[in-house]
């Protein structure tokens, strides 16, 4: 392999090399510094005059005397069966002291798009045991459902609880978990690792760790390595894979950093104009393929800067993913765990995975009614602050109380409390029963007579 010593410029994570033989776009590059360390990079722009290389690690130590080797191939990831149970760096090297991965295959990390025609419609209900997800924002296999959180909120606990409890009722197939950390602290990483170890989840997990002090640019490949692994486990080995990516905000910051270094025209708030496409190339790598056994389900976690859901990161994410679970500071302050605010939360694929044959026939209507009643009660809180409770009509007072009850009983649950979907729905009915029957306008009479506690008691008694 030819080594060039024609570096002309180094700016941030970018190295400019001139007078090379033709170099392929996106090619993997090895950079050898004076002390012999090898750093990896990727070609961002190539022409017969100059080649721009983005370095995944710090550029410290790279200078005009560094040797540049173009490998002639794009970045590939060695994957193999024995990856389960392993901990790898954000760049894909084992860091758990174990042996190198024995590759069964080497796969392109960018991953090709699944042909929409080859996709199979997701419809297998995943029970997470959390009422606000199962009952009102149902997750299904093959979905990408992010958690929108903010700093200081227990999103990690929610993610861990999902990873711990997720199952498809009536199915014995186990989930494999691929966990990719991007720019999180050592402490947070330890928290995840400890839980994985404690619950025995680690042996069916692959962990990628890019910590806060690891190079930011490396973060741009970590999720791609994780998803390449996930696709291999799912579509080659038949596992149902749950991918947790945290924290996507750090990923986007890294993207912005590279954009700025390349002097690109920035889009909103300085993030690159292609951020939608870039994020889509990560999030869209979820799904089920017709006639193939496994599946990839994604739970990306992001922290909304300033709790602002209109910030470009949550905004673009929301446009690509199939819904979002919103973790809310106000609920957290009230001491409610999990502090999931159902009102801005949504699961777009919910209707495919619920109802007769999936969960229970009353699921959709109960969920709609809970939403509507809670929304109404929540609105009234603003009014009460101005006019006081006494000025409310009888009807309004009932909805106000319903909202409190909903948060206290339905939303609140224990860190290790695993509610079945029947328990969740029955709990929903129990709360709805505190409202007069004629206020349940979203549920048809037949279902009311079948599931409303009033009639159920009669039927039993």
């Amino acid at each position: 392999m030819k080594e060039y010593r024609t570096v002309t410029q180094i700016a941030g994570p970018l190295v400019f090399v001139e007078k090379t033989e033709p170099v392929g776009y996106s090619e993997l590059v090895n950079i050898v510094t004076a002390d012999g360390t090898v750093k990896r990079g990727q070609v961002l722009d190539t022409s017969d005059e100059i080649v721009v290389v983005q370095v995944f690690e710090t550029t410290a130590g790279i200078g005009r005397d560094s040797g540049i080797r173009f490998t002639g191939e794009t970045i590939k990831m060695p994957v193999g069966r024995d990856m389960l149970g392993r901990i790898l760096s954000g760049g894909g090297k084992p860091i758990d002291g174990g042996p190198e991965i024995v590759p069964e295959k080497r796969l392109e990390i960018t991953g090709a798009a699944i042909n929409p025609y080859a996709r199979s419609s997701p419809e297998d209900f995943i029970q997470t045991g959390i009422s606000t997800i199962d009952g009102t924002n149902t997750l299904v296999r093959g979905q990408k459902l992010p958690i929108f959180s903010a700093s200081g909120l227990p999103h990690n606990d929610v993610a861990l609880q999902i990873a711990r409890q997720a199952k498809v009722p009536g199915s014995t197939e186990e989930f494999a978990v691929v966990f990719a950390a991007m720019g999180i602290t050592r402490e947070e990483a330890n928290y995840f690792m400890a839980d994985f170890e404690k619950t025995g989840a680690l042996e069916r997990s692959v962990v990628f760790l890019n910590l806060a002090d690891d190079p930011a640019v490396e973060r741009t490949i970590t999720p791609r390595l994780a998803l390449t692994t996930a696709e291999y486990l799912a579509f080659d080995l038949g596992y149902h894979v749950l991918v947790i990516l945290t924290d996507m905000t750090n990923y986007c910051e890294a993207l912005r950093q590279i954009g700025a270094a390349r002097e690109e025209v920035p889009g909103r708030r300085g993030y690159p104009g292609y951020m939608y496409t870039d994020l889509a190339s990560i999030y869209e790598r979820a799904g089920i393929i017709k006639g193939v056994k496994g599946s990839v389900t994604q739970i990306p976690i992001l922290t909304m800067p300033g709790d602002d859901i209109t910030h470009p990161i949550p905004d673009l994410t929301g446009y690509i993913t199939e819904g979002q679970i919103v973790v809310n500071r106000e609920l957290h302050r009230k001491g409610i765990y999990p502090p999931i605010n159902v009102l801005p939360s949504l699961s777009r694929l919910m209707n495919l995975g619920i109802g007769k044959g999936h969960t229970r026939e009353d699921h959709k209507k109960v969920s709609d009614q809970l939403y509507a009643a809670y929304a109404e009660g929540n609105d009234l809180r603003g009014l009460v602050a101005i006019v006081g409770k006494d000025a409310l009509s009888e009807r309004d007072r009932m909805f106000l109380e319903f909202a409190d009850l909903f948060e206290d009983r339905f939303v609140r649950q224990g860190l290790y409390e695993d509610r079945s979907i029947e328990e969740t729905l029955d709990l929903g009915w129990e709360l709805l029963a505190t409202l007069p029957e004629e206020q349940l306008v979203r549920i048809d009479r037949e279902l009311i007579q079948k599931y409303h506690p009033k009639y159920r008691k009669k039927a039993q008694g």
């Binding site: 392929g24 191939e73 090709a112 080859a118 997701p122 949504l346 306008v441």
Partner: protein
């Protein structure tokens, strides 16, 4: 090309930067289709700068090196038009996804080409003209029964026409000649048309017939005309895609072109699995039989996303020329605009607002202007209605794509995240939305629905407007503090919202509501309002009037197919309850 000068159709690559590459040593015109690199990836010329030809590539360019060859086909990006379009699902540059799957498996790899139509399949051609007849460009010369839709074979729009020398009935592929003209012109069932050029028409007409969608808030309050344009902007999660899909399913167009432009893969799959199972309410045939789908999901190449809306509208125009009413849904035009922005930034063009290219507004208006009700070259009347979803960042309608779109379209369906959060669907805000077709369509509603309809709609809008004003007061002082009369207004407005405006897309009956039912529902609500006012004038308290039991039964009407007996029963009960109020 000057005489004597060699035509250089072969050049070499000089620079590769993502989806934009530069070639030298190549003669090219703007928008020529070129083959890039050893793998012959498809691309299009988008800029010529001295010796440099700048090309956007429709496939991933990883691994391509400077020095690899580039060849110019000399053709512009075109689609194949002919029998076989219906029920197809294409990517942004009209490659059938089914064929791609056969050729390269479950994932979309690169360097594979596939024609838009099958060139092997034989179609039964029935001539409608005979030898000796005079035909001109655009004229229909025969038909093919494609699905339950009759595909009309036309003389290509740029043909000179002439006298028919020979025309043959029988089974043909799209490449075989079905008709020969006196001057030797051979006509096949296949036309190729450059996507960036609108197909010619004889005349553009003003729209005066509504596109009936079966969605109450649309047909009832904010209708779009056949041949009209509408925009659905809304933040994520507000139900843009569901609304678009409802329109694709139920609008009374004869042909539907659905463009999934930079959207989710799973959503396209949903359309793919659902449409073949759903029945067209008019014909009883699967909806898929009248549908063409274009799916360029968000992770498919960005340049092909830019092309996808042109591919879609060209196909729509082709069916319009046969005399059909076509509706085209583009979900979402924001992703298309973003694709333009991405390409523009790679070209290092001077950006306009928020990094979008300065020509954003021009491109959007050119696109929407291809909608319309027309007299085709052959004298048939057809239309293309365009409904574009817009995804404003952060739900902020002041951003460039929304604003530039609103300057062109005539109907605005404003989706509202607050409504969707309380599960009011379709989450279209009745105060912000508008339709500029109302006046043009009044006559149709008078004639086809009822002369009472237009006043009813005006009444309903009045009540909703009044409610919005009253709500501001309620927010401050509570609803009990309102005068009796206004308490009834609030109640009636609630009924309009919950009974008329809310519609359940997932309920087998409620998903499509015929215009006659919409009229009856609104009339029933108005009747209640009138009775309530009369009762109140007669001394009844608001609690009495609002407590009328029969009105709680009204929402059930939505879910009953043959609703009329039930509605009659409820209304009788209602009259009786009000009568009783008077006698007490």
């Amino acid at each position: 090309m000057e005489k004597g000068k060699e035509n250089r159709t072969q050049g070499v690559l000089k620079r590769i930067s993502g989806p934009v590459v530069t070639a030298v040593g190549l003669d090219a015109h703007m928008y020529d289709v070129v083959k890039v690199g050893n793998e012959e990836l498809m691309g299009e010329v988008i800029k010529i700068q001295g010796e440099n030809v700048i090309i956007q590539v429709y496939e991933d360019t990883a691994g391509i090196r400077p020095g690899e060859p580039v060849s110019n086909t000399g053709l512009s990006l075109a689609v194949e038009l002919g029998p076989g379009l219906l029920t197809s699902i294409y990517d942004g540059i009209q490659r059938p996804l089914e064929v791609l799957m056969d050729k390269m498996g479950n994932f979309i790899e690169r360097g594979v080409s596939a024609p838009g139509l099958s060139h092997e399949k034989k179609w039964e051609f029935v001539p409608t003209v005979k030898a000796g007849d005079e035909v001109k460009a655009g004229d229909i010369i025969g038909t093919v029964q494609e699905t339950n839709i009759v595909h009309k074979i036309m003389v290509p729009p740029r043909s000179k026409g002439g006298k028919v020398k020979k025309i043959t009935a029988g089974s043909f592929t799209v490449d075989e000649t079905v008709c020969t003209l006196e001057d030797g012109t051979e006509i096949t069932m296949l036309q190729r048309w450059p996507v960036r050029v609108p197909r010619p028409v004889k005349e553009k007409l003003n729209p005066d017939v509504p596109l009936i969608t079966g969605q109450r808030i649309l047909d009832g309050l904010f209708p779009i005309a056949k041949g009209g344009t509408a925009a659905i902007p809304g933040p994520f999660g507000s139900g843009k895609t569901v609304t678009q899909q409802q329109l694709a399913k139920w609008s009374d167009a004869e042909i539907v072109v659905y463009i999934g432009c930079g959207e989710r893969g799973n959503e396209m799959t949903e359309v793919l699995t659902e449409f073949p199972e759903l029945e067209d309410p008019k014909t009883g045939k699967p909806l898929m039989e009248r549908t063409v789908l274009i799916a360029n999901t968000s992770n498919m190449p960005v340049a092909a996303r830019e092309a996808s809306v042109y591919t879609g509208i060209t196909i729509a125009e082709y069916f319009r020329d046969m005399g059909y009413d076509v509706s085209l849904m583009a979900d979402s035009t924001s992703r298309w605009a973003e694709a333009m922005r991405e390409i523009s930034s790679r070209l290092e063009e001077m950006p306009g607002e928020e990094g979008y290219p300065a020509y954003l507004s021009a491109r959007l208006s050119e696109f929407y202007e291809r909608a319309g009700r027309v007299i085709a070259l052959n004298g048939e009347g057809g239309s293309v209605s365009v409904i574009g979803a817009v995804s404003p960042p952060g739900g902020d309608f002041s951003e460039p794509v929304t604003q530039n779109t609103l300057r062109i379209v005539k109907v605005f369906w404003a989706l509202d995240a607050k409504l969707s959060q309380r599960r009011h669907f379709p989450a279209i805000n009745w105060l912000n939305s508008y339709s500029l077709y109302l006046d043009a369509l009044n006559e149709w509603y008078d004639k086809e629905v009822s002369p009472e309809w237009n006043p009813l709609r005006a009444w309903a809008m009045g009540v909703l407007q009044k409610e919005a004003e009253l709500q501001e007061i309620v927010q401050l002082v509570g609803s009990d503090a309102l005068p009796d009369e206004e308490q009834i207004t609030i109640e009636v407005a609630r009924m309009i919202r919950e009974i008329f405006l809310q519609q359940n897309a997932y309920d087998a009956v409620d998903t499509f509501c015929p215009m006659s039912k919409q009229y009856h529902m609104m009339k029933a609500i108005k009747r209640y309002a009138d009775l309530a006012r009369a009762a109140q004038a007669g001394g009844a308290t608001p609690a009495q009037v609002i407590g009328v039991k029969s009105k709680n039964e009204l929402p059930q009407i939505k879910f009953i197919k043959d609703y009329e007996p039930e509605l009659e029963k409820i209304m009788k009960q209602m009259e009786a309850e009000f009568d009783a109020m008077r006698t007490v």
